[in-house]
């Protein structure tokens, strides 16, 4: 107890030096608080990006494996490659359901596509033989590709903004996933003079007909093929997967194409999941692909700010540590006589070291508290300024997805409409100085104080009290 008392007496006695130490630690504490708050915020944002995109896994060809030994110059080799591709085993919806029954998978969705011909409507096509661009629009054998989605999460074209609803019936999304309802391209609607709630009929190769009601009309943005009369999706008819499933169930000659997307708990489990899929019958020419790169692509600026903050903190700590080191060494030299007297009257080296450490820790704790307070006040505005772009980007993204699905106006806060993909929208970023930041600050501050005082503490151990007192005499 007397060590604390002595420490406090010494702090009061050496006001000038302790105020100087306090100011240095205060500056470090402010910088550290703001930096840690920014880092935490950036980490939250990155996590938010990850969660906004979900951890998706899709099934794709293992091209590297398939193209192994491929020599395009040899006709035989080309035929062999063709056989190799054709012999890759297909997978069905029941396979997908089997794959999805895994501890690594949180949820899944899929698209189910088939090809049908028009019955009551015509395919949007303009036949131009040998036109000046040497090309023809739409070379498919069928009129239409009917793509069924099992949930809004599966409607990636709408999420990314490739498709955007331009007209929609009221409460369309309440019924869109159950029944013979479709969304069609605006160009196709114009071509066939169709409007909302009109009914269209399609037919398969065997002459069976299927009737659908139009719930919405969409436009394709930024079509990849700008040299075409129509957009790529002009003859794509969007419906739900159960409608497609009903068609394939009613006619086994229709081959459907399933494209599943699995939401996993952790990207680290992809390899294990892939092994599990193979064991459940997935052809080894397929591999699992993730959206990790895409999910993280928007975080580069945040990462830059994060790494800048870290560098700034490290530099502040190094400079602050050096200054504290020098002050501590001067402190010990100035107080040699006191050390000599205390050692002579029986204070052990350990107790003496403890007293000096206590002095520093008391000053540090006061400064760290003040620094945390000042840092807490300033960190929010600093973080918001630094991360301003991220805030506006996240807001724009939310609004854009809302528009793509035909929801007018801004969709604020957590964008969780009926079956809507989850995207976090920020109006501001709260760089909160929470308990975690305070603990980190305390750890950094005290570590810095202790590390910078190690040399002076070692020198205490080496002082001979008799020598000190002789010098004094």
């Amino acid at each position: 107890m007397y060590i604390l008392k002595n420490a406090w007496i010494s702090i009061k006695r050496n006001k000038g030096r302790n105020i100087l130490i306090g100011i240095i630690i205060l500056i470090i504490a402010c910088a550290a608080t703001v930096t840690l708050a920014i880092k935490n915020t950036a980490r939250d944002l990155i996590n938010s990006y990850k969660s906004a995109y979900d951890k998706e896994v899709t099934i794709g060809f293992n091209r590297e494996n398939l193209m192994k030994d491929f020599n395009p110059g040899q006709e035989e080799n080309r035929e062999e490659m063709k056989d190799r591709f054709q012999n890759i085993g297909n997978y069905t919806i029941s396979d997908v359901e089997k794959f999805a029954d895994s501890k690594y998978i949180e949820s899944y969705y899929y698209t189910y596509s088939i090809n049908l011909n028009g019955n009551s409507i015509d395919k949007a096509e303009i036949e131009v033989e040998d036109n000046r661009f040497g090309r023809k629009d739409n070379q498919s054998n069928y009129d239409f590709t009917v793509t069924g989605y099992n949930s809004m999460d599966a409607m990636s074209e709408f999420i990314t903004g490739t498709y955007q609803i331009s007209e929609i019936v009221d409460n369309a999304w309440d019924v869109a996933f159950d029944g013979n309802y479709v969304f069609i391209n605006k160009e196709l609607a114009d071509y066939n003079n169709l409007k909302l709630n009109d009914k269209i009929t399609l037919e398969d190769d065997d002459g069976n007909t299927y009737q659908f009601e139009i719930l919405g009309i969409f436009e394709e943005k930024e079509s990849e093929d700008n040299m075409s009369m129509f957009s790529n999706s002009v003859n794509t008819i969007v419906t739900n997967s159960s409608a497609v499933n009903d068609i394939t169930n009613s006619n086994e000659n229709i081959q459907g194409n399933v494209r599943p997307t699995f939401i996993i708990d952790n990207y680290d489990n992809v390899e294990k999941l892939q092994e599990e899929f193979y064991s459940k019958g997935l052809d080894s020419n397929y591999i699992l692909q993730t959206n990790e790169d895409l999910a993280m692509s928007g975080t580069s600026s945040i990462k830059n700010i994060n790494s800048f903050s870290t560098t700034f903190l490290i530099i502040t700590l190094i400079i602050g540590g050096i200054v504290l080191f020098v002050i501590n060494m001067i402190n010990i030299r100035e107080r040699k006589y006191e050390i000599g007297v205390l050692r002579t009257i029986g204070i052990s080296k350990f107790e003496l070291t403890l007293q000096f450490v206590c002095e520093l820790v008391i000053v540090a704790l006061i400064s760290l508290s003040l620094g945390a307070g000042i840092g807490a006040v300033s960190s929010k505005s600093i973080s918001n300024n630094l991360l301003e772009n991220e805030i506006s980007n996240s807001q724009e993204k939310t609004e854009e997805i809302g528009r793509n699905f035909g929801k007018e106006g801004r969709v604020g806060g957590d964008f969780k409409g009926k079956g809507m993909p989850v995207v976090q929208a920020y109006t501001s970023i709260d760089a909160v100085v929470d308990v975690k930041v305070l603990v980190e600050l305390l750890g950094i501050g005290l570590s810095l104080v202790l590390v910078s005082s190690i040399a002076s503490m070692v020198s205490i151990q080496r002082f001979s009290p008799l020598t000190i007192l002789k010098e004094r005499s």
Binding site: Y2, N6, T344, I345, G346, I347, L466
Partner: protein
Amino acid sequence: MANKTILSIKNASYRYSDADSNDYALKDISFDFEEGKMYAIRGRSGSGKTTLLSLISGLERCSEGQIIFDGKDLKDINLDKYRNSDIGIVFQSYNLLPFMSASENIILSMDVNGLKIADKKKKAIELMEKVGLKEEYADRKVLRLSGGEQQRVAIARSLSYNPKMIIADEPTGNLDKQTEKEILDIFEKLAHEEGKCVIIVTHSANVCAKADKVFDLKKHN
């Protein structure tokens, strides 16, 4: 009847760590010190007086030989504890902490010893009065005291935990004759009335005259 021997120095030698193997600051010293007596150790400059004092007070350990305090070899005991419990040290230059008052210096020594008494300040004032200092000096910063007063504070500090032995290094070296006499009277009382062993390293003939026994240190070689 002989008093109990409290400290025995047996063939003690001391050589500085950086000195040649035969270059001893102190060589083959043997003394016995009893409770209730005042001893003077005298010798010319360089004879090793201060070195002997530092060995007795546990600030250094002897290179050869033994120093036995109350039956225990100093090599085997915690010397910090020894200094803040068993012996009191008084220096020529007082070695008080200048930023503390007289009573605070004494109380600090009690704190280091771990003394558990309710009113340490009262005890400090009693000790000050015992060495001839009035209560009004208690809160005075030691730098505002005269040399004799400071030395009295230093003696009071050394008595604060009631040690068995007082070791003083030229305690009257900076004092006038009258003060020297008063300080020596205090030491004499401590030895003869309170039964403490008082060892004074000195040049002073007056100290030697008062001492029950005088040891002469001669320079080695």
